[in-house]
Symmetry: C2
Subunit: 659 residues, 2 copies
């Protein structure tokens, strides 16, 4: 351990001594600043007493080692120092180093080009080398090295220092760019030690357990390592570079003709079929590994590319290729004034990040959608599909011509990169998580990039008193049983109170039970039907189970849905058209259905073509989202020299023109 | 100060003692847990030694006061305790209290219904009362009291404890809801002291400077105060309640007819005119105060409601009232299969939060837009317009009928509430900041709610080598001079290199200078034109100044815009149609113009009616945003009993129907 603080402790004590020994007349004179060496001399013993007390609480003994710069000029000293330290460590005694300031003949504590060390940071780096330390931790008053002054909103903590990239900023850049003064010295010491072979972490001395966190390998502070430049492709640099490359390639993709984008898709379809055997081999390896690891059956089934899947994927890409080009379409054309035409056109969002689980076919679908819509793409698949994803990615990017660049579609292979990617709100435009609620929730919590998707799918079916009970039975069963794990499954059945004790309702309940659906009740239904109470009314079972509750009327049903729902898909079954209208008008969900199964809430069934996901967000896209969720708009205005000049000369017509 | 820790320190020491005194045979026997009282006895002196060392670093003396429960039963003790403590404090000595565990006859350290205190939290509360403390700070290992287990994503720190609201959760709720065990005791002690008149803050003992922060009145930890319930309308509860009320009212607003919404707008217009005198009086008071405070002239000018402004505002509301209802319009109608009709309809976003500066007329415009589009609204204006905003809010909400509720539009009066509002991503759907870049930036940095707006407006005009230089001069001057502080002002002028040394360009530069525009150059232009170098190429002047740079060709111009721009509005001036097409196609900004001034980028000039703002986000709405930026969509599906049943029986037609 290398410590500072002796001068500070000593100054405090000496001021007190001086005061006690002063006459009132002395105090009238100008006060001379206390001598630093005297302070160090007084303070060092106080400082060590403090360490001794603190360490003794842990039954650890500390020892004091005061060194000066000139000591290190003696090779015998260096050898002996190692021996002393090793002896202390063998006895589990902590050596506490400090510069012997009271004795040292150096005047200023800053860099001395003739010195071997010149402050406690350089002393620490020197000792780390001398003593062949495994790791050097430098504690600061900030979290680590920042890209700009810490505390400014755009400054980011640099997790891994890469000499080639960061050195110029620090050595030649504006000094304030590396934060408070002390950081420059720390970075210098860290670079020195790291490139001599000792890894260094600069982290905060104020954060609880920061040293323990570093030792556990947690991602805190800034790491300096001589191999860091080799890791450039990983970590925040890697993530950033990947996203920037995807953006650059996507801009080239956008400049080519619609035909050229179509051709890429057709080439990908051909490449997939040509490499079918290879893809299946890799996929079988993934499946075998998953079986050995005893993953759930449903996961293995989603992981497996069944026979015929490759050609069906290739065919769906060919259909996408033949689709009308979704970008650069004029959505609206207006004449603003004589000779000024304004067009609102569709254009790609930019760079998409898709995080998906298990299904390797999702990679193919999403990649082709991205190309069709002119977007760059970063893909992160589940590790269980690692080999399948790698080969699919290779085959697909292999079909992208060089003048666009294969980096159009990046494959993120390590889970560790996700946090870095989620920080890139300046380069990534949309995140689409496809997977469990937990995955979606985690991503939503941890990024500022807009997220398209839904965490919960708590769909309600409300059976009105006017319902055709035979229809209700059909719809309710389909909404629950057809595919219980899907997000459009009914999770809560709401029943108008007038239906209680009717034959139709009894029949419905019996049928649900006999199909194997476990019923849980809200406060009223659990009494009425003698079923266990549901733990929460806002609950997604994702299985053959659902909540049942009794409501007084349609307004109570709507309130229940607003209170406990997830604004995904909610359905009314009724013959009463007035009730239906109230429900359709007032239920504030992405999709509201009348006399039809919640299952229809699906991109393919809605006729949107490929489905990007179902969004419960109210912004950008809502409900099942097709390719239009990957697009934004751009306003293009063509004039012939018009100016505004305070609107004096312009006669606005605002005439809509055909598109 | 009340401290724990004696038992811990003592146990450590006694274990060592015991080990030293053990034979190897002793160590084979089962080890008996050390006696707590013995540990306390040993540890207390070590604990005090530690405090003494730490305080002595600050030249402060500490003193030990060990008390037991039974001491407090003696009234003489209580009086004498106060005297002792006051004597110590007068000498600037810190009394350090602890329960005299070694002596106390109580067995368990938990609540004892006969005890006067039962742990250090209740001791602290008791002492705070006895000694008439100004404030009690309880230090915990978490930031304060959370609404659920700390660390879970949905748990929120409660900044102000309101007994009426939080008590039931804590006393009767699931114990884990208040976090780790110790918190229950702290809350109990805090409630006891607070309702006896001593304010209490529970905060983290691990956070740097947490006590100093509390003393400075910073917003850390959880505050307990006997008047907290009176503050219910402020703080996080107030913000949340306000937003929830706005949502409830907006749902009622959505259920009424389009005619009813229209009538509200007309009533508001009438009410504004009827109260014109009152409004002007309040506005004059704001203006007078601003003049006295010597605010900038431009601010005072924006603050002033000029004569005729009220009736012009009233008239624009009447125009809005007559506008086609923007909500519940069918945007798309599809027959999915025989008898299943799907409609995509427009609907309100929900609750909007608008943060605006100075202009009180913005309040009127935004409130009427919100009503027209069926949204709830929270408004936060600048404090310089406080009285104007208050009266306008009162007049407007006074015209909202009771069956909808005046809380449809909430006026936030204190800046302190903004952070609370920005946290409500579950109730507020969109934030629209209208004000300085700094305001927009701060809001974007501190919320998960989507933000509509733009931080920077760094618009470029690129003058191609093919440009008509007379046209270029007109457009460039208009783009810079017409209104230099607006976001659609040109900030950077890019010039094709072939134009250097031409008469047309010289003329343009001379004209800019003679109009008083200060020119700064990029690396090339600063040499060419002998002008100072621009500090940054990404820079918004917002004044009579701009950056000039020379580029090799159109591709270099596009690269420059992508690198240094803000994707707001960029313009090309050229006769070469091919160059124009490349520019319009490739420049990835919200608005891209050809041969027209950047000034046209404006909601009114675009013919969008009222402008909500200009968005540089790529999501939801981009460029000038009219009322459609306040809308989302809802999918409405009507069937007659259809189910999916694995798509076996459904024949999808996906036929587009007229809307």
């Amino acid at each position: 351990m290398v410590t500072s603080g002796a001068v500070g402790v000593g100054r405090q004590r000496l001021r007190y001594r001086k005061l006690v020994n002063s006459s009132f007349a002395d105090l009238q004179k100008p006060q001379v600043e206390l001598d630093g060496k005297a302070c160090a001399s007084v303070g060092q013993s106080g400082l060590m007493a403090l360490y001794d007390t603190l360490f003794s609480q842990l039954d650890v003994t500390s020892s004091q080692l005061l060194v000066t710069d000139s000591d290190f000029k003696d090779p015998d000293f260096r050898m002996q120092l190692s021996q002393t330290v090793n002896t202390l460590l063998a006895l589990r005694v902590i050596p506490v180093f400090n510069e012997n300031d009271a004795i040292s003949t150096r005047k200023a504590p800053y860099e001395d080009s003739f010195g071997i060390f010149w402050d406690n940071d350089s002393l620490a780096a020197l000792l780390a080398l001398e003593l062949k330390a495994d790791l050097l931790v430098l504690l600061s008053d900030v979290e680590g090295l920042y890209s700009g002054p810490p505390g400014e909103p755009h400054s980011k903590l640099i997790h891994t220092y890469v000499k080639e990239r960061h050195q110029s900023e620090i050595t030649f850049g504006d000094k304030s760019r590396v934060g408070r003064g002390g950081m420059t010295a720390k970075v210098k010491a860290a670079v020195y030690a790291a490139y001599a072979g000792i890894p260094v972490v600069i982290t905060s001395g104020f954060t609880t357990d920061s040293i323990t966190k570093v030792l556990k390998g947690e991602r805190v502070g800034t790491l300096f390592h001589q191999d860091a430049s080799k890791w450039m492709l990983l970590g925040e640099d890697g993530a950033h570079n990947m996203a920037v490359s995807a953006r650059e390639c996507s801009r080239r993709l956008q400049t080519v003709s619609s035909e050229a984008r179509k051709k890429i898709l057709l080439d990908i379809a051909d490449a997939l079929e040509a490499n079918e055997e290879l893809i299946r081999t890799e996929n079988e390896a993934d499946v075998a590994a998953a079986q050995q690891a005893e993953y759930e059956k449903s996961l293995i089934s989603r992981l497996t590319l069944k026979p015929g899947k490759i050609s069906s994927l290739a065919n769906s890409i060919r259909i996408l290729a033949d689709m009308e080009d979704p970008i650069y379409r004029v959505l609206k054309r207006t004449e603003l004034a004589e000779g000024i035409i304004l067009e609102k056109t569709s254009c790609p969002l930019g760079v998409l990040l898709i995080v998906f689980e298990s299904r390797p076919d999702a990679l193919v679908q999403i990649a082709s959608l991205a190309i069709r819509s002119g977007n760059g793409l970063l893909l992160k698949g589940g590790k269980e599909a690692m080999r399948s994803n790698a080969i699919l990615h290779k085959v697909i990017t292999g079909a992208i011509p060089d003048f666009i660049g294969q980096k159009l579609i990046g494959l993120v292979t390590s889970r560790d990169e996700i946090p870095d990617l989620l920080k890139l709100d300046d380069v990534i435009d949309l995140v689409i998580p496809r997977g469990s609620n937990k995955l979606v929730d985690q991503i939503k919590e941890s990024t500022k990039i807009p997220v398209l998707g839904h965490a919960d799918g708590i769909c309600h079916v409300y059976v009105d008193k006017s319902a055709d009970m035979e229809m209700a039975k059909h719809i309710v069963l389909d909404a629950k049983i057809d595919y219980p794990a899907a997000c459009n499954a009914m999770e809560t059945l709401l029943i108008h109170k007038d239906l209680l004790k009717t034959e139709g309702l009894n029949d419905l309940i019996v049928e649900l039970k006999s199909e194997g659906v476990a019923l849980f009740g809200g406060p009223r239904a659990s009494l009425e039907f003698d079923i266990p109470e549901a733990p929460l009314l806002h609950h997604e079972y994702n299985s053959m189970a659902c909540t049942v509750e009794v409501v007084d009327d349609i307004h109570a049903a709507i309130d229940h849905i607003h209170h406990h729902g997830s604004a995904h898909t909610d359905c009314i079954i009724a013959k009463d058209l007035e009730a239906a209208e109230i429900f359709l008008h007032q239920v504030d969900s992405a999709a509201v259905f009348y006399n039809a199964s919640t299952r229809f809430c699906d991109g393919a069934r809605f006729g949107l073509g490929a489905e990007v996901g179902i969004s419960t967000s109210r912004i950008h896209a809502r409900g099942p989202v097709g390719v239009e969720g990957l697009l934004t708009t751009r306003w293009i205005l063509k004039g012939n020299g018009q100016i505004v000049d305070g609107d004096k000369g312009v006669v606005y017509t605002h005439r809509n023109l055909p598109v």
